[in-house]
Symmetry: D3
């Protein structure tokens, strides 16, 4: 019997919604929803690569993550107004970029750049994992539009897991996230391998058994997300 | 017979859609659409006012406008990454703030701050006028939620007008905007008075007769928008 | 009978002084005075254009406006020290640039850049309109020195108008400006056409009749300024 | 038989050197060396806490990481000169801060702040793990000097592990780091629990067995480092 | 027989002009001219002192130096636009501040701040020495207006000296400055003592005899400037 | 009989230590110690010169100075975190660069750049003079490694002098520096000529006799430092 506020089982994802082509301009775009968390992912393609990569014959995929001021419980200041990007934003942008590059064949992409933008319209926990999961679908659409489907060597999805009151749980909303003793974000490929494992003790260090339980939960969640990504992509774009 | 690409009459607005409560957290929030232009407007309320206004008994309404990178035809760089806000962004933020303050009674608002955020999710011309029109509705919802409905002294709406190939037209999409000889943004109150008139000759200076024609068109457009705002607010929030 | 503090008629400009060649280095330079308002306008010419315009055969005119810290009643902080340019500065710089480009034939200018600098040495209202009016004269001198007089397709001047205690008035000094219910800056060509119309309700929205009265006043003021510009240019440089 | 360039066994740390009191001014300071990697760690104590924590009765520990320009193979630009801190620096500063806070009892610390500075004098891989390992010792010295030894609830150490040519290895120097297929930084408490696990696939995703092997190696390395920290602290400060 | 381009003797100042009260708003203001070099100096007084000096009973004098873009031969970029102040500007601002504080009795000034702004309108060598010389006069006027004449403990003036083709010369214009082998700026009090001596070899190191010759020249120049300052101040302000 | 806290004679340097090759990566590196002041000087060589010098056949030497946060009595904020470099840092960086360029033959260096980094690890007065003295040795090593020994036209060293309680003293530690009435930094070549003389009255202006006494003291100190530099360089690098 679940004790989660939203009635989910401990190993159950929130309702996931992947809406493709939400925008007119970018090559790929997805509005992804993990429960109340809503992230707009865009994949903009352009010819050419950054200067340091020119002439290499290789493509480039990079990502930027940001949050609208009104996305959070209490309005947060705009980073453009503060004139500097915070450490958390940097960290997540880099994570998204690395995750997507894990399934990109730079050579097959050719000297093209795909710029991923993940803008959180509403935040309720798990924004970075929703961003990665949605961005993969936008990236797939962009590769298709660029007519370089072979640039994608696999799929990638991400989920958060955590221990709340001693119980490991999948896909934490904000109310669980703030109470978690341990919090882990896991990025996996569609064939069940790990791309990123980022576990953090919040207050209490965790032992190996807890780590193993969280990893198992994450494997389950990423498998579910992989299936949902595939279904979304099978529908006509 | 219209010669506009989208088949509209010269004095006709694009399809306007005002969706209230698009977000969970802010006191008021609206997704406003002028055709393909889509702006997310949030009105976040907080107790207290900026330092320079403390103890005055007066409230404060301010606004920030921004555009998502993938909102435009060609991706535009993120201002937070550039580390500085461009002149255009500043200009529009200030315009939105002034426009909304024109219908706010600072005393009735009391020492509360309402922060308006207008984030352009997709741009197809007229983003600033859509922002003002939508932000007014979000502001009205925020005043209601704060239980200070009397802080609103009227309504405000905005529309763009321009002369294309010698013909004055209402509510320009991007394709018309770039071709306009003269471009004007007009902000009006619900009872037909002017709050802002910003006309700019693009290449060719305009004469008084043209100016008068544009003003008449704007009066018509703002009246239509005022009606649509009222209808949106009459629906249960 | 005038009720203005400085004894002027409502449709009368302040004493205007246009001193050419105030600086040794730039191609054109003007110290322009609208009463106590004093703006130093320089037009620096250089070969070549910004990268995005190279090879187009077209020239480029751009402007920067700034205010010395001690120019105002109460000293204002230096924007270079703050490390960022404020919205008002951006807005006025852009306005000056657009106004001057309205009378420039980019093709006749050739691939040259004219950079306009308008630095307010002393501020007493109307700094942006004085800046435009003076900058035009500096620009004319620069075009002459560059031997591209045909790059100028006309002249441009600007003036502020406003409604104080219900009375429309021309060329507002600071004491009137802060009391104005409505404030409008109008930029016009020498042949009486509009380049920019920027009207703002300060607190009270204005109706069409008031707008018309202000426009008429501005037409009168710009015509006077056009004459003074011509006289200044007719004197040997 | 080892195939590592420096002759180490796969599960062997580089020569570790912990020199306490390297600086005169801060409450604690350590020059820590992991082979050729050399990090200067300082723990500066000050009374009071940041504004948002005032009156809570709780202390605050925070960290900043930086690299001297000449620390790396090829000189890297100074972040103060660039005017902005890079994402990597932010990320590591946050990691160090979280790691140390995991063994701090905020209440026992009282309203005091300990600022940790980790400056990399020379970089040869593993700078962040050396920084955490050294910073813990500086922090312990600072707590002793502040006479709040009970603020420390345990010890913390960190090590990098990675898979090179299919072989899991401990404590990677730069030459191994750049060749690693998978790279993981692990922070553990002195009693063998996990504080942070950050694993990243570089190019090739890793499976669960590889992850397990890396974790085992990290457990061994952190236990060794814990012993070396204890020995360093047992010597008279 | 002089060989200076402008016909001056080697120990002769350029024509010096000190115009007081050039601005309406600040407590003291001076347009100072050293030949073609023209610097606008303003001394703005305000009650109170910076936070770190509050409650000390002591006043504060500080200075900012800047150059208008069109002041130089070739237009220089605006520091506010670049978003950062250059090293040279910082250096000169600090020099001016220190020089003026050398003749200020902080106690007699009381908890008031005088902010000096020196803006170079036109540059032809010696801008920093002209700035100090003019700023002193503006400061004296500000002290008089604040009714704290006793806050001034003496006067201060500054001049540049240099060796050109082996000949020591006083008060270098730009054409001499760029050719100088050694360049020295000297700030002295009215009673002939040194406040600052800043000598720099440009390419060739200088010996003690050359240093002595330059110091003698500077003593002569500062004495002349002191007399001119006194004359300017004796005229009704 | 000396009255200095550390027992030195008034014209005696603190213990000076010059440790070459303190770092593995840069072409030259020195840890220089003037008593408790400890500065790490690195000379990084790279092919090519900045854009504005390309094709000139000339080399370029430039310097950056910085201080670690924990180097000072009370921790100072990191300039990279503040996002801007302070005036003092700029000033010293420029001083170091000019001083070293005084003994460089740009032509003999060829189109190579040597970047000097002086990072103060611990500060106890005289950090800029220690930096110059140490940087020269690092520069000499870099020229040797680059096989352009002839690029060095001489040696350069620097020392601080000051008047404390009316007595001129050499090489001031922090406790003397804060009490000095006059403070002077002098940079000299190995053959006894002046490169920079920077004297500042702290509160009390100084007369010519005091200036002469300080210069004599500095000549003595620089001669001693020159000898120590030579000895350090004569040891095998």
């Amino acid at each position: 019997m679940s004790t989660r506020e939203d009635g989910r089982a401990d190993d159950e994802l929130r309702p996931i919604k992947i809406t493709r082509n939400w925008l007119d301009h970018p090559a790929g775009s997805v509005l992804v929803e993990f429960g109340r968390t809503r992230v707009l992912c865009a994949a903009s393609a352009s010819e050419g690569v950054p200067r340091w990569r020119k002439g290499s014959g290789l493509g480039w995929v990079t990502a930027e993550y940001a949050m609208l001021p009104a996305a959070t419980n209490t309005r947060s200041d705009r980073e453009s107004v503060k004139g500097r990007i915070g450490g958390r934003t940097h960290e997540i942008s880099r994570l998204i970029g690395r995750s997507l590059r894990a399934v990109i064949d730079d050579k097959a992409l050719g000297e093209n750049t795909i710029q991923i933008d993940c803008d959180v319209l509403q935040a309720d926990g798990g924004t970075r994992t929703a961003a990665i999961t949605g961005a993969y679908v936008a990236l797939a659409d962009a590769c298709a539009k660029l007519r370089v489907p072979s640039a994608l060597t696999g799929s990638v999805a991400a989920v958060s897991v955590g221990i709340i009151d001693g119980v490991p749980r999948l896909d934490l909303p904000y109310v669980e996230d703030v109470r978690a003793e341990t919090d882990m974000n896991v990025v996996m490929t569609g064939d069940g391998k790990f791309v990123e494992v980022q576990g953090t003790a919040e207050g209490v260090a965790f032992d190996r058994a807890e780590l193993d339980a969280l990893l198992a939960l994450a494997e389950k969640g990423c498998a579910d997300l992989t299936r949902l990504q595939r279904e979304a992509l099978e529908l006509g774009g």
